[in-house]
Structure formats: structure tokens, C-alpha cells
Symmetry: D3
Subunit: 140 residues, 6 copies
């Protein structure tokens, strides 16, 4: 199901073709997943989203690529985005996530789901030591 | 604010005292944060929650402790639990998270928030290759 | 904090006064909680919301009043509405919820939070027997 | 999938028939979408929901019908209701939403998804000037 | 759809078999629903989750079994977990939930959905009387 | 409360100063709201977020500025972001939102909150006519 279908030939639009070409080049594969094909109806939205993904996910960083994908899985589960859960789980596997690591990831996500609800249910006040405004945590 | 206050002396209950003692021993500190003080009104709930936290967070694992805390932050943000965001951010800092890593973590969480909403808005169908039922992804 | 303050004398508007009078009469108390004072800026919204609350919460029903409040707490926690968590927890206590029942309620909410996240993370397919479209569950 | 199926002939119940007739009359079409067919198992719930939809969506107002549908899309995406995202996107198109407007709507929803998560992650305090309680924003 | 498939014979693992046997014994049925089959890829996660479900749902308690299932439905709807909504609705029916009770439950969940959003939109401050920290609500 | 405090003089960093100057220029005011002061700890995140806000909110478009802010309010309420609800409500007022329009906006958000939960509770299947994949809705 979908709210609209991609155009039959989205790459007829040169701005879309440029993004798709860059995706293929960056990822070293001809496969363009549905996220990009669906966003192609609005070239500006497509360009902006791909630029940000490339910058946040792709560039050299202090967080390794597999950890990044596990964080994406965690957010996608909590936000309940089926497409995103599927695509980031596949991406994490492609980056070497083992079954044991996946099991641990789910244990963390599940436990966080539980303790999040408990803290919300009791409306537990934040300990002073956790509040930067009170503990004087420096800005960086 | 809170929906109920902790008892003035929760450790008068021996089951609560046993959990608090184990928290102090495990974490090598006298500090008991509010989560445990608030859960103490129901000793069974306190015991069960602490046992699970100890098992999931504390035992030797394939995911390093800082990564675990960053995953907790990610889930807590997406679930919008103020207490949890504060406590896990403090815990990640205690495990060495730098300002640069925190900035990257937020970039990932923010981008996931955006792409999650876009995928949900367009109701993008899951690519066959991402669906284990179709791609034959083995169970483990 | 709030996005706007209630008028100094909301009952100067006769439509507001009529709703507030009915709240006082129905609940047998002079206390008007903030929800109603804040909604009073739009009399039509106030009337419509109170009418529905009165109909759903107040009328004789197959679900007893305390159970109703516990269901409200559960939804409010999962939706993360601080005002609602506080007000429905207070209402449940006023209807006799004991500390033991509150502890059990939180255990259920917390466990549901965990299993919800696990089911979403694994994108577990619904068992045929749970799907009314396949199992032939009659409409009523 | 569904948790229960509609009755084979829901309009056998005169209260259901009255609502369905009013839907057909109000919308000038014979098409009754699934929302109403599924709610029909509880005539009181059906009546109350339709009455409110008719009042909020249908009556002359200061917000034009297309804008209303775009707001519904925004809420439905953030609440992650697949049925609602589909039905309100279709309704917005029926009211003239162009592809360009849809692209802009998604850009707003996506950006809000990102900045919402960033504000939540940092637990940014509300600026005094935005707080009606401090800035003295009048009630109406 | 799913992010991974269960192993062809999960009970080849003795830890999985022990849990499945206990599920069959506890529930007096041979039917193992997908939740457990999907969690079986990580025996520790399976054991921990089943132990908690058994303890929270199964043991003698102050909240009757049908009420518990209705609370699970409420949380699952608010958390938007399709699998959970289906399975707990089926479980509630198996425990005797009538169509009338289901209609009332949905009316409560729907109304809470509305008032939650209104309280959040207006950022209504919690009445002092609802705040345990101010009203002196005892811890138990 | 916050998870970290802004640096005492964030504009000592020239990249931060450049963004803050552009915010002042674009908005024609010296006021820099907390969102930007808090993001300043990571200049790249600050730059990327401001660039996107400027592009999505500020440029000439088919959706008028007030409607945009109302859509932001809607998303922020559904995502339950207190900072965002406050800031976008203030922005909508600055763009001329009247009390009547605000009341209508809340009525829509509240009703969507209700019908979203009902559709999710019943797991209502999407009508074929709303599904672009089946109805042949063109891509643009």
C-alpha cells in the first residue's frame, strides 16, 4: 500500500537522475530502494534528504557504521516505522550484525520500552545530578 | 511532579533494601537514582526491573557499554521519556561520550525522525529484499 | 507552562458557565480542574468535549469506573500525556485504587511497553487465528 | 487484517442506517468508507464519532477544507495511523491538493519530525517568551 | 513481513523447547503464537520475556484477567503495535469480552486519544491537587 | 531542565556566529531562541538544521506561512514535543492566528487523535480506493 505511486520513469527528471546516480555511485550498487523512488516525486525533497543521509551516515565519523545502523533501528522501532525497521535491519546485517548482537539490541530496545513507560507512568522527577542546568554540565 | 511520592524510608522493607544494596554494590556508588526510589513502592516490580536491567546492561556482551547507552538515549528520545533521556545521557557521558559523539548521535536521531515520518507519510512499501519472509533470511 | 492562559473570568461567557455548572453538578464538587478551564477559550470545543466525557465516563456501563480510570492511565502513559497521567491517576485513587493494584497496573503497562517494542522490532506477522478477516470472527 | 469484521448487513440496525444515510447525504456519494462500516458494531460510538466529524470537518469555518485535510494528514503521520494517512491523503487530493503542495507538506512534516526529536533529545527549556504563563498571553 | 524468519525447528534448542513446553502447559494448548516463535532466535530474550509474561499475566492478582487484557489492548493501541492489538483483542475475547464491552473500551481509548492531544496542545499545567509532590500523597 | 547547557559564548565559534547572524538577518530580530543556542554545541548540526528550516519555512511556497505553522503545531502535538508546541504556537500567533482559528485547529487535532486510535484499535483495512497501488494514482 502507498499514498501515491512513483512515476514510471522518475529518472526522466534530470534532478532525480543526478541523485539516483549519486546513490548508485556512493553505495556501489545499481539497487535504488523504495525510499528514494517514492521521494522522487518532489526533486527538492529528494535532494535535501539524500544530501543529509549522505552527510550523516556516510562521512568518516566517531561512531562506527554498524553502531549507526543499530541506533537507526532503535529509533525506527520506537517511532514504529515499518519501512524503516525493515531497511535498517537489513543494512545492519549487511554491515555484519550477528544474531547475537541483534538479540542484545532487541533486549535493550525492549527494556527501554518498559522503563520508559514506568518513568512516564510515575512521572518520576529528574535527579538533580542528571540535569545539566543544575549540575553545571559544560556545553561541550 | 509525580503521581506518588516514595515512602520516607523505603529500605525499611527488606526486599527493597536487598535491591538497593545490590544496586550500590553493582554500581560501586551510594547514589540511588529516583527510578529505583519511585519503583520501591511495589517490591516485586522493583526486583523484576532491577534484575532485567542488571542482566541486559551489566553482563559481558557483544555491544560495548557506551553503545548501549547511546541506544537507550535513542529509544528514550523517540519514546519521549524526559526522565530517561536525562538519565541515559548522563550515563553515556559517564562512559566517555564526547561532545562530538553526542552531536553525531543527535544527527542520527534527528535524521531518523525525519525519514521515519516521510516513510510513514508516503506509506512506502517494504522492498522485497528487506523482507525476511520473501528474501529467505535465515532465522539466525 | 502553557501555550495560552485561561481568561480571568471564563464563566462570564454563558456557554462556559453552563458547562462548568454541569461539571460541578455531575461531580458533586466545586473544583473545576485545569483541563476545563483551559478549554473554555473555545466554548464549542468545551461543550463537545465535556458532553463526550460525561457520556463515556459517567453513564451506567459494563465496565466499572475504576477499570475505566485504569484504562485511561494506560492510554495516557503510552501517549505520554503528563497532565492526563496525573489527573487519571488521581481519579483512579479517588475511586479506590490501592497501592497493590497500582503496582500491578504499572507491571502490565511496562510489560506491554516491552513486548510492543519487540513485536515492532521483529515485525512479527499476525497469527491467522488472531485476524478476524481470516478467522471469521463475527461482527458482534 | 482487522480485529473484527463488520456485520454482513450493518444497516439492518436502524441507528446505523440513519448514520450511513446522513453520510451519503452529506458527502453526496453512495460510498461508505471502511471507518464507518467498522464502527457500526457499536451504534452509539458510530453516532458520536460521525456527529463530531460532521461538526468539525463539515461546518463553515475559518480554516479552509484543504488545509484541514493537510492538518489531518500531519497528525495521522505523527500518530502513525496507516488507515488515516491513506484516507486523509485521498481526501486532500479530492479537495485539490497538487503534487507540489503534497511535496511541501511532507517537507514540513519531515522537518518537524527532525526538530521535534532534537528538542526532545536536548530537553531544551521553553523560552520565556513562548510561555503564556510568563508572557501574559491573553486567554483569547 | 518480518525482519527475520524463525528457525525451521526452533525446539531443537533445549532452552527454547523448555519455554515452549511451559507455554503449552501453562496455557493448556498446543498452539504457540508467533511472538514466541519469533523470539526463539535468542533463547535468553525468550526466557526472560516468557518469565515476565507468566508472572505479570498469569499469577493470582487483584486485577481480573479480562481487565488485564483490556489494559493491554489500550497500551497496544496507543503504542500502535499491530501484532499486539490483534493478539490482545483475541485474548480478551477468549476471556469473555462482549461486543458491548469492546465498544465501551474503544470509546474510552478514543476519548483518551482526544483529550491527551488537547492537553498536550495547550500544555495545560497539572493541577496542584493531582501532584503527589505537592498534595502529600503517601508512597503507598 | 536540559541534558547539557549551551556554551557561555557560543558565537566565539565563527561557524555558530555565521548561523546566528543569518537567523537575525532572516528574521529581522536580535532574538535567538533556545533551539539554536542549544544546537550550537555542534556547528555542523546547527548549520544543517538552520539551512533546512530556512529552505522549508522561509522560501516562497504554495502553502501560506500561517498554514505551515499550524501544520507544525499539529505534528508537534502528536509527537508530544513540549518545546515545539510552545514555539510553533507562538509563531502561529505572530503570523496572525486568531483564537477562533486556534480553537478549530485544536478541534481537528483532538478529533484526529480520536479517530486515529479507533482505526488502530480495530485495525481497519485501507479501502482499495485510498490505496495508490490499487487505484492507479499517478506519481505526480
Amino acid at each position: 500500500m502507498a499514498t501515491q505511486m512513483p512515476a514510471p520513469d522518475p529518472e526522466a527528471d534530470p534532478r532525480v537522475k543526478a541523485v539516483f546516480d549519486d546513490i548508485r555511485l556512493t553505495r556501489k550498487t545499481d539497487f535504488i530502494n523504495n525510499m528514494w523512488r517514492w521521494l522522487a516525486f518532489d526533486p527538492a525533497l529528494l535532494e535535501r534528504t539524500w544530501r543529509e543521509v549522505k552527510e550523516v551516515v556516510g562521512k568518516p565519523s566517531l561512531i562506527d557504521p554498524l553502531t549507526k545502523e543499530m541506533i537507526y533501528i532503535a529509533v525506527s522501532v520506537a517511532n514504529n516505522c515499518s519501512y524503516c525497521v525493515h531497511s535498517h535491519t537489513a543494512a545492519a546485517r549487511a554491515r555484519g550484525m550477528t544474531g547475537e548482537q541483534y538479540g542484545e539490541l532487541l533486549a535493550i530496545i525492549g527494556l527501554a520500552g518498559k522503563t520508559n513507560q514506568l518513568a512516564t507512568a510515575l512521572q518520576i522527577p529528574v535527579d538533580e545530578v542528571f540535569d545539566a542546568a543544575q549540575s553545571g554540565q559544560p556545553g561541550r
